[in-house]
Symmetry: C2
Subunit: 190 residues, 2 copies
């Protein structure tokens, strides 16, 4: 523990994370990951029992990454609206990637919805994290239907990412992000 093995494991997960996003889970092979990391295919099975296990590790890594981002949002302000705006800015920061491959969370869930239930349930975890955090913010603003609001905001961001990617429309993406932010700004603090 804590030596070279962990390093290799981490490198596999990071490469898989990027490839699952850019090519999709099913279209990413062990060879692809091996080519990027320089770690031979056969070696993967020392760190992971199956490809599904690699996905689980990737989802865990993404959850950890977003947890950190959400802490940053929390620290950015005491005003829940400001926190939501910070979150939108973070997401909008990867606009080029979104235009190219959509939202990493949404596109993964969409793909795995057509696979096994286990993969589907696992990939949903990132969404659940974001929904719960958004729900907290809407509760702090004073909404009784905070969870509904969180689902709405999640859906809105996903719709924007999907359409922007499908049409490769950068202008649309910018306009929609601006409109989403002005919607958050207009929320009354009850």
């Amino acid at each position: 523990m804590g030596t070279k093995g962990d390093n290799n494991r981490t490198r596999i997960v990071e490469a898989a994370d990027r490839l699952f996003y850019q090519r999709g889970y099913n279209q990413t092979s062990f060879s692809d990951i091996a080519d990027i990391t320089g770690i031979p295919r056969g070696n993967f099975y020392y760190y992971f029992k199956t490809k599904d296990d690699i996905l689980a590790a990737v989802v865990d890594a993404r959850v950890a990454q977003y947890e950190e981002a959400l802490i940053n949002c929390d620290n950015a302000s005491d005003d829940p609206r400001e926190r939501l705006l910070t979150f939108i800015d973070i997401m909008a920061g990867s606009e080029k990637a979104v235009l190219d491959a959509g939202c990493p969370i949404g596109s993964l869930c969409t793909e795995l919805a057509k696979d096994s239930d286990e993969l589907q349930t696992k990939s949903r975890e990132v969404f659940e994290l974001l929904r719960d955090w958004m729900c907290q913010q809407f509760e702090a603003i004073g909404y009784a239907d905070a969870n509904d609001k969180a689902m709405d905001m999640l859906a809105r961001m996903q719709g924007v990412a999907l359409i922007a990617c499908a049409f490769k429309d950068n202008a649309y993406l910018h306009r929609s992000v601006a409109e989403l932010k002005s919607w958050v700004n207009s929320l009354a603090l009850n």
Copy 2:
């Protein structure tokens, strides 16, 4: 032409259409289509040169199917708002499938955004058809930014379908469809 060959071709396209929706394009094999249709794998190459050609035929079939649906929307009323409501009802009619596999158009575009440019461009055709028709309706209502409105409505529907599918949340789907319809109803006829 017009004889048995067309029948087999049509059966292949119909089976592929269903499978591309339920399992995804890349996860659907010739064997899968052969199992459903009873037509042997090797036979496919008499009707299609490559798997990509089958996808093109499926997209063409979907475009034709939605063109027909849009004509029905046009015939339903002279009021563009009523037409949009009819369209929403048609899309909401397949709620069980949406919960299971998402929107057939959106999930295909999301998947193929990570594949070749050709497949991506082809799959976008269905979206373009819907966007153009929606744009017409918003123009008829009197919006100067009709195309923006069309993109917004498309994105909203896609976001709802994606989130409903990811969370397997039927109640959310119903609520969101109702809210979308009440939004259309509230549009002022200028």
